[in-house]
């Protein structure tokens, strides 16, 4: 059956995109989530809120970010013109600050003095610690022990910014476990604590709210590409962990039917369950392609035959997560977006290519988008354009890549 193309992607009142999303949480969290939803909806309709947010995004974070024409990558691909949306140039080095500033303003509106957050690669933790320093809020960051090891520099940065970093040694010791621990903290300290979730996942209203704060990426990119080329791009390519940088770029283009939306998941080092973080990868024994509920939302979840959440592997801590944001699940099932995957090796290839050809060292998460984007560009004509979301810079990964080289 031919599906009619979708031109909008808005959740219902309960935060559902079709069957995905919603609010699957212990009862104690329902009231704070309702309070947060109300506050967010009020803020969304308040021009004063946006004026302050936009001022901070401009003066503190460095927006708008440039849309850079990557001529040497374009020549290398030999097809469509490749443009890079330079979120890596933002304060703290990644798109995460867009959402952190927005939610910190909400926390302040709600009178919450204590902010908690989870972090994988450390970029969201750094962004949160940064805005907490700016607003004088107490900040506690939960981070898996494995990620603390991989991203030691970001741990130090967070502490430098005055945050307390709590190492989580439970479960797989990565992002998923950091979120579990943050949820446990929140359920215990709901009265005075704001949970500043960093990706477009978790219970309603987080997937919607994070998307709204990240959509500035796509709004700018749409204007910039129109002014640079006079026409819309043929494709947008972005890496997808939880999916916040991807949905931020994609969302303002959803009604533009001619624009392909391509998310890139972490293909890791193999096809079997536990070796990757490709939630849509429904191959034999991959564990992907299964709908489930994890951490408050219904989406595609990597899991075993008994519904236990699977471990994941990715060279990049920020993509190393068992579930994907619910709006991506909806875009996937409605065929509005496509999801590819890039292996650890392809990510490293993209990392080096981007560094050598453009003088830009991307984050390893971001690097997953490079090779698939080159393949897409190659299929198109020189009159077309493709935008890659250069979601973060790679300073934090230089040591890890150096270690891999010396092995």
């Amino acid at each position: 059956m031919q599906k009619s193309p979708i031109t909008k992607s808005e959740p219902d009142e309960g935060g559902h995109w079709g069957k995905f999303g919603g609010r699957y949480v212990p009862e104690t969290l329902v009231a704070p989530l309702e309070e947060l939803t109300n506050e967010f909806m009020n803020a969304r309709d308040d021009p004063g809120f946006w004026a302050e947010l936009n001022r901070l995004l401009r003066d503190y974070c460095g927006r708008p970010t440039p849309l850079f024409h990557a001529r040497r990558l374009t020549a290398h691909a030999g097809g469509a013109q490749i443009y890079l949306k330079r979120e890596d140039l933002l304060h703290t080095g990644a798109h995460k600050i867009n959402n952190a500033v927005g939610q910190a303003l909400l926390a302040r509106r709600m009178g919450k003095r204590r902010v908690i957050a989870e972090t994988g690669a450390g970029q969201h933790g750094v962004a949160t610690a940064t805005v907490c320093a700016l607003f004088g809020l107490n900040c506690v960051i939960y981070m898996g022990a494995e990620d603390v090891r991989r991203q030691a520099l970001n741990v130090f940065r967070m502490r430098l910014l005055g945050a307390e970093v709590v190492t989580v040694s439970a479960g797989t010791r990565t992002l998923k476990d950091a979120i579990n621990e943050a949820l446990r903290d929140w359920v215990t300290n709901v009265h005075d604590t704001y949970y500043l979730l960093g990706s477009a996942l978790g219970p309603h209203p987080y997937p919607l709210m994070v998307r709204e704060f990240q959509s500035v990426i796509g709004r700018e990119a749409r204007e910039q590409i129109l002014s640079a080329t006079g026409t819309l791009p043929r494709a947008l390519v972005a890496c997808v962990g939880g999916g916040s940088n991807a949905i931020g770029l994609f969302h303002p283009f959803i009604a533009d039917e001619g624009v392909r939306l391509i998310g890139v998941e972490a293909g890791g080092r193999g096809d079997s369950l536990g070796e990757h973080a490709a939630r849509f990868h429904a191959g034999m024994a991959s564990g992907g392609g299964q709908v489930g509920v994890l951490q408050g939302t219904m989406s595609y979840v990597l899991q075993n035959a008994n519904g236990q959440i699977a471990t994941t592997h990715s060279i990049s801590a920020g993509l190393d997560y068992s579930a994907i944001g619910p709006e991506h699940a909806f875009l996937h099932d409605s065929s509005r977006a496509d999801y590819a995957r890039a292996s650890d090796a392809e990510a490293l290839e993209g990392f080096q290519l981007c560094a050598k050809l453009e003088g830009i060292i991307p984050a390893l998460e971001t690097a997953h988008a490079i090779m698939p984007a080159i393949r897409v560009a190659r299929e198109l004509s020189q009159d077309d354009s493709v935008i890659i979301n250069l979601s973060g810079r790679g300073d934090k990964d230089v040591q890890l890549v150096a270690d891999l080289h010396s092995q």
């Binding site: 609010r23 949480v25 009862e27 439970a170 579990n180 359920v187 300290n189 299964q290 519904g307």
Partner: protein, 268 residues
């Protein structure tokens, strides 16, 4: 008429509070869980809650997290848990509440679950991360098999929501004593009593109080204002402490009895 309602009816007629122990299935192994179900029934359990192990138990404190991990290391599944109850039910008649996170149930399949839960002799299911807003299809699925779906209420639950939850709930209402995860605490908060009062104002269902209860004093305190006390982490800690010991089952039974012994009006 649900067996759980019968149980609370009997308790009311005897004028005593209910004792609801919780253990995790497969901790430390399934055979021991079967023996523990029988032992807890003998020790005076009015209802038993049996936890399905889950990899990401966000509502649980460290003690029950570790129990889940021990069970999962042995590969214990929902199917195993159902078989375990089925076996134990040959020896005991106490109502059993299956206590689970949603994902393992979702994976098992909603349609199949109602049938198999009923077949195993389970009387009710409590899904930690399922609210009435998302619970519609589950309520229907279980109702078709005469299985109660128990909902949680918390001190943060608004009056309006309490009313809505009460309308959807059956069996009993589980009142969470405080904002937080499961785990023993030294004192009962005032929140619990006022929450139970608020529930009573909107529902005739019995109310059980759980989260943080670990001593005989706390049990009798809860009985003063609620219909039953749930003891989870404190019992699971005994299982953990005695794991590998031949005295495990007897030791856990003894601990369960010790929670009731000072509450003399309980002895029947």
């Amino acid at each position: 008429m649900s067996r759980i309602r019968d149980t609370f009816g009997k308790l009311k007629r005897c004028g005593r509070g209910g004792f609801i122990p919780f253990i995790t299935a497969g901790d430390p192994d399934l055979v021991t869980t079967e023996l523990l179900l029988v032992e807890l029934a003998a020790a005076g359990a009015d209802i038993i809650e049996l936890g399905v192990p889950f990899s990401d138990p966000v509502a649980d404190g460290e003690v029950i997290q570790r129990a889940s991990e021990r069970a999962l290391r042995r590969g214990v599944t929902l199917g195993d848990t159902l078989r375990c109850v089925s076996n134990a039910k040959k020896h005991i008649d106490v109502p059993i509440v299956l206590f689970s996170y949603l994902n393992p149930l979702l994976k098992f399949g909603r349609d199949r679950l109602g049938d198999e839960v009923q077949g195993a002799g389970i009387d009710a299911v409590l899904i930690t991360d399922l609210t009435p807003e998302e619970g519609g299809p589950w309520i229907t699925a279980f109702r078709d098999h005469a299985v109660d779906l128990i909902f949680l209420v918390a001190p943060t639950t608004s009056g309006e929501r309490l009313r809505r939850i009460a309308q959807q709930a059956s069996g009993f209402i589980y009142a969470v004593s405080r904002a937080g995860v499961t785990g023993a605490r030294s004192e009962m908060p005032r929140d619990a009593e006022s929450l139970v009062k608020r529930v009573r104002a909107v529902s005739d269902l019995p109310v059980a109080v759980g989260f943080g209860i670990s001593t005989p004093e706390q049990v009798s305190q809860v009985w003063r204002f609620a219909d039953a006390a749930v003891i989870g982490s404190a019992l699971v800690r005994q299982v953990e402490k005695l794991a590998g010991s031949p005295d495990l089952v007897a030791g856990v039974g003894e601990f369960a009895r010790s929670l009731l012994v000072q509450n003399t009006h309980v002895v029947t």
